[in-house]
Symmetry: C3
Subunit: 419 residues, 3 copies
């Protein structure tokens, strides 16, 4: 019985085992076939990886041609300003490729960085053109800490708003505010050395000692604009300039706010190529500015006061004091539900700006003011940002001065872009 049972159990066991074995054999076969598939898929992956690696080598080879160092040490960018200006009456109507600018940057190390701006004005330079090709900025940053860093070279004199942030996607209006042309003569570059940093999340500053202005080129209507030295400034009488900005982290009134104050003080006996015109005088400029974006509104404005010692001796109708300010309000009108398709990143701002600027604000005793120096300007316009980097602009400008002849009103169309 036992045996029988044994026999039976063996037989039964055998058939169990056989079934098991069959199942296991099938499983092993399946495992084999899956492993074979894996072999195939691994071979494919291997070949994918080697192809990727080869392609990557080709792409990386693209870095090689950069002479001094690798591609990632370079940076590129630029901006442009294209204008069509139409003026009433006998005023001129012109097309102007006003500015085409390339930025070029290079990192010499993680703490020494170069930044430069190469500007072609009016699209044409020759020996009898009105165009210019020049370096507006070219400076070296020595990054030491959040709070204190050194900057040397050609910097944008840090007064007001537009002189420092002058890309056309950053301001409304085809032309820059006239305040930023005649009171703070934008674009105004200075050559020197200084410091910059962020003292806290809210407070930042920059301060430089630079070559001073050429006082002999000041005049009644253009103010200090002619005094900028674009080439090789004399270092005879230096100037000091700087600014402090405050950006409350929590904002202000539910919006983004920036408040800035800036100043400039220096001598005027400087010319090109190290020559000195022999001017005995000096200049002080104090300015304040703000930008406040709240809900769909943008408010911005600046004010500046200039005082000149030696204005009488300088002559050319140079004033003892100049003064100007502007205030602008903009409103974002592009509806949210239009932000799709071609217009996914589109914005549109309508704005109004009032500019008041007087280059004959306070005259030396006994010198008559030229009433053409006391001007104001109303600008009504629209900025259509098709993309954040590309803006089409249109505006109407009503201009007045204190003289009997009125200034021409004008219509301006423009395209501005950064890249």
């Amino acid at each position: 019985l036992v045996l029988f049972a044994g026999g039976v159990s063996a037989e039964q066991g055998d058939s169990d085992i056989s079934a098991k074995l069959e199942r296991m054999e099938a499983e092993i076969a399946e495992l084999k076939s899956r492993l074979a598939q894996k072999d195939e898929s691994d071979a494919e992956q291997e070949s994918d990886i080697s192809l990727l690696s080869q392609k990557l080598d080709e792409v990386s080879a693209g870095d090689a041609p950069f002479y001094g160092s690798a591609f990632e040490n370079w940076s590129f960018g630029g901006y442009g300003d294209v204008h069509a200006n139409f003026n009433e009456g006998d005023g001129s109507d012109q097309f102007d490729f006003h500015r085409l600018v390339l930025y070029l940057g290079y990192d010499f190390s993680d703490w020494i960085k170069f930044h430069s701006e190469w500007e072609l004005e009016h699209a044409y330079v020759s020996d009898d053109s009105g165009g210019e090709f020049l370096i507006e900025q070219a400076y070296f940053d020595f990054l030491l800490s959040n709070e204190f860093n050194v900057r040397a070279g050609r910097v944008l004199t840090p007064l007001g708003i537009l002189n420092k942030w002058h890309e056309p996607t950053l301001f409304n209006g085809v032309e820059r505010p006239s305040f930023a042309k005649y009171i703070i003569p934008t674009t105004w570059s200075s050559d020197g050395i200084g410091a910059f940093g962020r003292l806290s999340p809210e407070w930042s500053y920059e301060a430089y000692v630079v070559g001073g202005l050429d006082g002999s080129k000041f005049d009644d209507v253009k103010g200090i604009r002619g005094g900028r030295i674009k080439e090789r400034p004399s270092l005879h009488e230096p100037a000091f300039t700087g600014r402090v900005d405050y950006r409350p982290v929590a904002g202000f009134g539910g919006g983004d706010l920036r408040l800035g104050v800036s100043g400039y003080a220096g001598g005027l006996d400087n010319g090109n190529k190290g020559s000195n015109p022999g001017i005995d005088g000096d200049i002080r400029i104090a300015s304040a500015d703000f930008e406040w974006s709240v809900s769909k509104f943008d408010f911005t404005g600046a004010v500046a006061h200039t005082s000149i010692d030696g204005a009488r001796e300088i002559g050319n109708g140079t004033a003892e004091e100049m003064f100007g300010w502007y205030l602008e309000a903009g409103y974002h009108i592009w509806p949210e539900h239009w932000k799709k398709g071609k217009f996914a990143k589109t914005d549109m701002i309508v704005f109004a700006r009032y500019d008041d600027y007087d280059t004959q604000y306070q005259m030396p005793f006994g010198v008559a003011a030229n009433p053409a120096g006391d001007r104001n300007e109303i600008t009504l316009g629209v900025s259509w940002k098709l993309t954040p980097d590309f803006v089409v602009k249109a505006d109407y400008q009503i201009r007045e001065d204190d003289s009997d002849e009125d200034l021409n009103d004008g219509i301006n169309l423009g395209i501005g872009f950064t890249f």
Copy 2:
């Protein structure tokens, strides 16, 4: 018996099973070892992939420095024209880095694109040089459909062949045809806005309204060449210009054919910086051109007729009508079996061109034609394209005009390239 049989069958079964088990164990062992290999190979692949990923991050980091956007939004290119000109008799012999040009493009979005051409002429610009640095093209394309797109900015006036397609690898001869210098004053840029598109696979067009020419700069021998405004054109009297091209998809006579007609019509009271010279006149130009490549031959040619209202008032010997044409035949002589090694992509074209151009074709009543304005030119030469982007050129030019003194013949050597 049963038991025995059972026993036997069990025993026999056991040995079968044992064999099977052994085989299966071996298979399992093999599977294990193959899986272990897979583990290894997978670990290797894992590390390969992570290395690739790291490298790719490094390479991608190269994109970061582009300010406004990523590297792939930019495009770069350029071309250059180097000449050595030798003239018979008292003519001058000179080396001339005539043109070095950089192209810069940027895509603001998939439908707004910028293209610009920065040209340095004669390799030197200063306050007393003959060289120039200028923007020859800088326009924005707004891509809307195949058939209709908008273009705004500085465009190449779309007349004839050379003004639009002026890269030195695209034409034979060291110097451009004189027709393309005095009848269609190449390179001629215009500032304005217009449309372009492809109406079918065979028909394409472009059409613009642009700032007009300065008629006060026209003259007897150079024709309308001086009337181009390179800087800030007045928008006082606009001009309309456009072209239509036909390229039969099936070709023509077994070859590639392009036929084009182009035109220009506009006022002449325009100057630089929005000033207007006070010219009461207008101009109309009609032109046709073709390019036909068939077998080893290239045929190309253009004709243009210019009529000017107010020529008498303009003076300077300006004609009422100007007329010119040229015809060129080229033959590809580089043998197929020489196209290997250093010369794998080499081509060589011998050509002959006849230019006939008369800037004094029809004079105002009572004004005598200057016979120096009626000229023709035979050019015999060779273009050796070492690569499709790099060509060495040589030619001999026989020049004649209607005056008693003959023009100097000349030999020209040149290198042309695009990149």
Copy 3:
């Protein structure tokens, strides 16, 4: 018994088998689970690879915008020289963005290569500026073998040291040696064609036939400097110029040595735009130079002798012979243990240089020498290479000439960089 044994053995066998089967089943289960893991890891790798491939496509897309060809055919670089010059007495003090230079290269094929140098001098070019924008080099190399290659275009005249290797990280002193300004008028470009190569690991050469100088612009104090033609040189009277350099592979005295000799010989009846001033004369210059770095010392120097036929006829006080030389010794003082952190790649060299240069060395019979032409200059300074590509320089220069009035001494500060 047999049966029993059979029964027993069968039963024992069964339990063995069962155990084995259980073990095998467990193993199969484990294999299955490992394969399942592999499936997962393979799927992950697959997705990693496909992500990498996608990213790579995006990065590679960055190549596409290069017009003529792929990104890897281009090369970029540049250098810059920023100076602040302070002069004693009535001398001028100026800031000068003296040079900003971009290199652009392009490979048309593996044997045809283009290299160009675009230089902006004094940061400003307009119709009344002292600045310049020019092409200092632009040549095509046709690479044929180590020993013999062809170069055509605008090359740096290969005389002395500085004219060829003029990047500010390659020499000590804010300003280039005066020898390299008045005896070998650096930077001096010539247009022509020639050959270059390396005859052995030790010997290299270059030799060209180029457009000659304009003798009518020579004078007493600036020597041949005014005779360079920057724009379109006449090819009326060619010049031949070349150099040979020897660099002993084993070095010299345990240091790196380079010895060079160079020469120039040609006619002087050449002007701009192919015009010829009508000068009947010619010039020969012979020069030798060396650079030797041994231990912490750098020694460098050059000498040149110029002889001019027709000096009397040229006038302007042009001498029959000019002669000059300079010798400089530098010592690397930056301690090894300071080379860490921000200063990991920093070096500092103190140096002394003596320049002796006389543009009135031998006068035509009966013409008096201008004693202001016979000058010498001692320069003591320091070059602080914060990185190998970025150097801050300072030096003091004591200048003398043979006239009664002494030259102003000066202090120079500078930043030089290459990228």
